[in-house]
């Protein structure tokens, strides 16, 4: 178990990267605190797996250093780092039995036979494969194989970190939930540093203490699920997290008011003058339908009833906006007005969130 520090880290798959766009992973400074469970969330191809492979030593970064507890391991081979990693697709040793598969990492480290025996039994119970321990791994179903891969990842107790690269893709939904709960339980019990890569926000939010959101090779925000929900630092975080995602509208901001579609929207807090692309972000949960003509006029395009609530798809002068309203609320037909809850409004300049001017400073 160790604290993992990334310092000025960047990686490009090209031998001579010229511009920013050649980098799969843009410059990054980050500490993974010992014993925390992180989720690394982002769309496919945003550099999540690259980052993971750099931490485990399967890739050597083009620039920057990696430290485990302040010891530089940038050039150290994977074996020396003592990391466990589980991949997206199952990897099992076909000719070995399930038992030998689970014991493999321990035996490679020369662990004591009785310890191996007992540890394998524990892991087999955890992944629910006690019955099949003596069976050859070949010919098992994909999710059984992936459970073995997970088990092999968890079998060593002394690993510096446990990395998961979208490990539950091939597992069926019911088992997914169970395995994720197991992983959480394991984390509480042993306190390993865990990094869990996923593009599924539910998976990320239920698994991790801290969620790291990546976009286009950059870490755009790190925070608790609540922080990601209330104050997305980047418009991408806004619409990637949440269902449906945050509404982002063109706006101009003047002091404590924003102007959206020609209407004034009170912000409740002052902002400095902004230039360039200015947008107002508000989550559907903070959008209300109102008959008050002081609101922003909107056209209702569609209403989706998802059971617990209704999602109203609206059109505000050509931009689409979603609102979530209670199941029992009536939906007016055709045109209506919307208003935004001040607490839920964030202002973005060039896609990055702008802090309001602090009252005390003003």
């Amino acid at each position: 178990m160790a604290k993992i520090t990334l310092s000025n880290l960047a990686h490009s798959y090209f031998p001579n990267p010229s511009g920013d766009e050649d980098y799969a992973l843009k410059e990054l400074n980050h500490d993974w605190v010992d014993g925390e469970a992180y989720a690394l969330l982002g769309a496919s191809g945003c550099g999540k797996s690259t980052l993971l492979n750099i931490i485990s030593g399967l890739l050597v970064p083009s620039r920057g250093r990696i430290l485990f507890d302040d010891k530089d391991v940038t050039e150290a081979p994977t074996a020396e780092r003592n990391i466990a990693q589980v991949f997206q697709f199952p990897v099992v040793y076909d000719t070995m039995t399930v038992r030998d598969n689970l014991a493999f990492p321990l035996r490679n480290r020369g662990a004591d036979a009785t310890y191996v025996q007992q540890r394998v039994q524990e892991i087999a119970r955890m992944i629910g494969m006690e019955e099949q321990l003596n069976r050859k791994a070949r010919g098992l179903t994909a999710d059984a194989k992936q459970k073995i891969s997970l088990g092999r990842g968890m079998v060593r107790e002394d690993v510096n970190a446990l990395l998961f690269d979208e490990p539950l893709t091939v597992i069926d939904p019911h088992m997914k939930w169970e395995l994720r709960t197991q992983l959480k339980a394991l984390h509480h019990e042993f306190g390993h540093t865990m990094i869990y890569v996923t593009h599924d926000q539910t998976e990320a939010l239920t698994f991790a203490d801290k969620v790291v959101v990546m976009y286009d090779g950059r870490v755009v925000q790190m925070g608790t699920p609540q922080e990601l929900f209330e104050q997305p630092e980047h418009t991408f975080v806004g619409y990637f997290i949440g269902s449906p995602g945050m509404n982002v509208l063109d706006a101009s901001v003047d002091g404590t008011t924003a102007i959206v579609a020609g209407r004034n929207v009170p912000l409740g807090k002052p902002y400095a003058a902004l230039t360039g692309k200015v947008e107002l972000g508000v989550r559907p949960e903070f959008v209300q339908l109102t008959s008050d003509e002081g609101g922003i006029p909107a056209k209702i395009r569609r209403v989706e009833d998802v059971g617990r609530h209704k999602i109203v798809r609206l059109d505000i002068s050509g931009q689409s906006v979603d609102a979530i309203i209670a199941e029992a609320d009536p939906v007016p037909s055709g045109s209506t007005f919307v208003s935004f809850d001040q607490a839920g409004i964030n202002i973005y300049a060039e896609d990055w969130r702008v802090d309001p001017i602090r009252e005390s400073a003003a």
Partner: protein, 290 residues
């Protein structure tokens, strides 16, 4: 489901039966026919029962050839299979050098057998051959026409030169099909190089290696052209393999009866060994489940 019964449908397979009969069954039966008959010339034959089989089985000639043949095939397999795997493991995985290696490796496979024989026949001569001349200049007494050890070494090296590529290419294809994730997982699990070979590469190559072993065994067991061109079975009869011996018997001595029974037994041995291989392969696949 209702099936229409129409015996005339048998006529549909008649053309195939005729073709196979003309090209395979009748010639084979001719051989069988010769193997159970004897003649004193003038195209007059009389039944000889199983005499020829008995004679062949009791003479040392066939047993000696069979023994030489088995030893030759065993040596070939013991050298070519490990060597082929070793080469495949060390070939570049992708890029220009991988393509170049593949082309260079395929070249020996494209050379006709008797050309290979001629190349080595000349290559090994002490007077005009590069290899033979170099060896004798180095003071090594090498002469494949006089010394049976030299003759064997020449034939084995020649076959290794000609066919190891095949094993290497097959093994290479097997290795290429292994996803990177396996190697990455092995690194994570801290497996040694040997364990990566033993538990990842070898199991994944198993299928192609069985084919490689089968092909190399059959080819080396039926080898004819190359030793015929290089040594002609000599010195003495030290490189008289089954095919060479058989051709001598059938064409040089015109002993059609013994030669026919010889070739039937030769064929049965090949059939038997193929069957053994087949059974092993099928059982390897079955080993999967519980």
């Amino acid at each position: 489901m209702n099936k229409t019964v129409n015996q005339k449908a048998w006529f549909l397979i008649l053309p195939v039966l005729v073709l196979v009969g003309f090209s395979a069954v009748v010639p084979l039966m001719t051989v069988v026919n010769y193997s159970v008959q004897d003649t004193f010339g003038n195209n007059v034959f009389f039944p000889a029962g199983l005499d020829w089989f008995r004679t062949n089985l009791q003479s040392d000639r066939m047993w000696d050839s069979l023994q030489r043949q088995l030893i030759f095939s065993a040596i070939i397999l013991l050298i070519q299979i490990p060597l082929g795997i070793l080469i495949a493991l060390n070939m570049p995985k992708r890029g220009f050098w991988a393509s170049l290696c593949l082309v260079l490796m395929s070249l020996p496979l494209l050379i006709p057998w008797n050309v290979v024989g001629t190349i080595w026949q000349i290559f090994g001569r002490a007077d005009i051959g590069l290899l033979g001349y170099t060896l004798s200049e180095m003071g090594i007494d090498y002469n494949y026409t006089q010394d049976w050890v030299d003759a064997w070494i020449t034939l084995v090296v020649m076959d290794v030169w000609h066919w190891t590529s095949l094993v290497a290419l097959l093994a290479y294809a097997g290795l290429q099909s292994i996803p990177d994730a396996y190697y990455q997982a092995a690194k994570i699990d801290q497996a040694s190089r040997w364990k990566v070979f033993r538990y990842i590469e070898l199991p994944k190559m198993q299928g192609v290696l069985m084919i490689a072993i089968l092909l190399r065994f059959m080819d080396s067991f039926m080898i004819y052209t190359e030793p015929f061109v290089v040594t002609g079975g000599g010195p003495g009869s030290s490189t008289n393999f089954l095919s060479i011996d058989l051709v001598n018997m059938a064409l040089n001595q015109m002993d059609l009866g013994p030669a026919a029974s010889y070739s039937i037994m030769y064929y049965l041995v090949i059939l038997l060994i193929s069957y053994v291989f087949y059974t092993i392969m099928v059982n390897l696949d079955k080993r999967d489940g519980v």
